[in-house]
């Protein structure tokens, strides 16, 4: 069976959603019609305390079969909230739910049993990994997983494409009215960037906390005006689980070569001047690139205006050394960042919508000069896959990838040319997460390729003496070493996930893998 054409009719049939699915068109960006789930605002009279137990909160929320609940994933692998809430829902015998989390991590593998028993019938998230990813890829979830970027998710919530009935938000400190933050208490996760959007637009918002503080809370990330109930629990999550998986500093020689190339590219463009702005991913090479970049910044006395996105100790270090003025943070990726967001006035917490929603009046990604992003594979048309592994199984996260690639003036994708026995530069990526027209530069350990659409960059880099290659060349070279892999045998009759572009149009569909 051939891969089906992504027509409007076809997408509607597989989507089974409350809004129309449209195929992605890079020449015509889609706009949202802003019809959030909030069709009316409640009058709850005068409430002076919102603290209840979890089951009461769920009952009061009016959660019924077939509704949509949401979570945020700031605790990453250390999350304990989703499980707590799902267990209570199970006991209340509510089923057929859509779970729309900002992302799923290894801590959410247990959801497979909730899907099997019909409590959960549909998932929506930026990422899906491990056994939950394998489960979805095997076609075992009733409806396809909807994959959105962080900005795309904020857009979907605000426009009403993703209507959240009940949002369950974990906060490390909350007062009895629901003024909450993630910066104080034993279970800190730092920024609550994703939760802010859910709390604001959900019909009913429940704050879960293991640290009930005196009213009024000292730092208010989620205000009481958006909160219906506060639930005290034993533990919302383990901060140690935040720093996991993707985030590490490299000693790998391939990544060192890539890192040097990235620094060379950035310092060779005319955007590298006082007040430039940057987002770096969490991959080894991009973190290492910052090390090199720092040297150039000190030498040439260049200071950056802001760092954006998921924040690690590396950005905090730049700030502490006076090399960057502000940090704009949707998600803290390590405990240093968690400390910093509480202590430093120039380390700002921003919502996912402020960060990257393409349909608000101006998200921060549009002010980025550079973004450094890692990838699983890239094709000769510059399309990027960060979602499906070489075997076609869902194991990654879209995150802010497509948001920043489109928003930044220069988007740099870095990856090794060969990983295991596979070329990371291919004819066609398994699934498109970031469309090629938004990708400017691809850096591998074998060379640098600039998107032909960016004649200005080609000229600047060539003038600076940077040698360029084509992706075609890279692909051919890799093939001489690793040979030709057998293509994945997709079962095109079973779509398992729909990849939405930032604007809500459909970029790609991921299918079940045969065998």
């Amino acid at each position: 069976m051939k891969k089906p054409e992504l027509t409007k009719e076809y997408l509607q049939k597989i989507g089974q959603l409350n809004y129309e699915l449209e195929p992605f068109n890079k020449n015509q960006a889609k706009t949202s019609n802003f019809s959030s789930i909030l069709t009316q605002l409640p009058n709850k009279g005068i409430v002076r305390d919102k603290v209840v137990d979890l089951k009461t909160a769920i009952k009061n929320s009016g959660l019924k079969n077939g509704m949509t609940i949401s979570f945020h994933h700031h605790f990453r692998n250390g999350d304990k909230t989703v499980k707590l809430v799902m267990e209570a829902i199970k006991e209340l015998k509510i089923k057929d739910l859509t779970v729309a989390s900002s992302s799923f991590t290894d801590a959410h593998n247990f959801l497979t049993s909730y899907i099997e028993s019909g409590i959960v019938t549909s998932l929506q998230a930026s990422g899906c990994r491990d056994t939950l990813g394998q489960f979805v890829s095997a076609g075992k979830c009733k409806k396809p997983l909807i994959i959105r970027s962080h900005g795309g998710r904020a857009r979907a919530i605000e426009s009403g494409d993703l209507k959240i009935d009940v949002a369950f938000m974990a906060a490390s400190a909350s007062d009895c009215m629901g003024n909450a933050n993630g910066m104080m208490g034993k279970s800190r996760c730092g920024s609550l960037g994703y939760a802010m959007v859910d709390a604001q637009y959900a019909k009913y918002t429940v704050i879960l906390t293991d640290n009930l503080v005196e009213f009024p809370n000292k730092v208010i990330s989620i205000p009481q005006t958006h909160v219906d109930a506060v639930v005290c629990v034993e533990e919302i999550g383990d901060p140690k689980g935040i720093m996991s998986g993707a985030i590490r500093l490299t000693t790998n020689p391939k990544e060192e070569i890539i890192a040097e190339s990235i620094a060379k590219i950035i310092t060779s463009t005319d955007l590298f001047k006082n007040g430039f702005s940057i987002q770096m991913g969490t991959g080894g090479a991009s973190l290492s690139a910052v090390k090199h970049l720092k040297k150039h910044m000190i030498e040439k006395q260049i200071k950056a205006s802001f760092c954006l996105g998921g924040i690690t100790s590396h950005q905090v270090e730049l700030y502490q050394q006076g090399l960057v003025t502000s940090i704009l943070d949707t998600q803290c990726f390590d405990l240093t960042a968690v400390e910093s967001i509480y202590e430093n006035d120039d380390h700002h917490e921003i919502s996912a919508s402020m960060y990257a929603n393409p349909h608000n009046k101006s998200p921060f990604v549009n002010k980025l000069d550079f973004v450094i992003l890692s990838a699983l594979e890239v094709d000769v048309d510059f399309n990027v896959n960060v979602m499906t592994g070489s075997d076609g199984v869902i194991r990654g996260a879209s995150g802010g990838h497509s948001d920043t690639a489109e928003g930044a003036k220069v988007s740099i994708i870095c990856l090794p040319l060969i990983r295991g026995r596979l070329s990371c530069v291919v004819d066609k990526v398994n699934s498109i997460i970031t469309p090629g027209n938004t990708v400017d530069i691809v850096v591998t350990d074998f060379g640098i390729a600039v998107n032909p659409l960016r004649k200005d960059l080609i000229e600047q880099l060539t003038t600076a003496g940077v040698k360029l290659k084509s992706l075609q060349e890279m692909k051919e070279f890799a093939k001489t070493i690793v040979g030709e892999p057998k293509p994945i045998d997709w079962d095109y009759s079973t779509p398992v996930a729909i990849v939405e572009a930032r604007d809500g149009s459909v970029l790609d569909v991921i299918y079940k893998v045969k065998g």
Partner: protein
């Protein structure tokens, strides 16, 4: 099957493979491949191993492959070394 007839070559480093050869009770050869890239290269690995077994006229062995993304040259080198050692030990 005695333990000392078993041969192990290679490693589980990325780009390498661990090859284990043990005698079977039959005259048939059996090849088991475990690889992260089974989908893409599983058949190719089996074909290469079977070809080498045939070249060396070896029968009645179990070849277990733990592949970490070895390219064909490495596969051939590891399997040939393994079989030569196996033959030297079991002659």
């Amino acid at each position: 099957m005695t333990k000392d007839k078993k041969i192990i070559v290679g490693s589980v480093e990325s780009g390498d493979m661990l090859v284990t050869i043990t005698p079977t009770t039959t005259q048939e050869n059996e090849i088991i491949v475990d690889s992260k890239f089974i989908q893409q290269f599983g058949e190719e690995i089996k074909t290469i191993v079977a070809g080498i077994l045939k070249d060396y006229k070896v029968n009645g062995v179990l070849v277990e492959i733990n592949d970490q993304g070895a390219i064909p040259a490495v596969i051939r080198a590891r399997v040939k070394t393994g079989i030569e050692r196996y033959l030297a030990k079991n002659d």
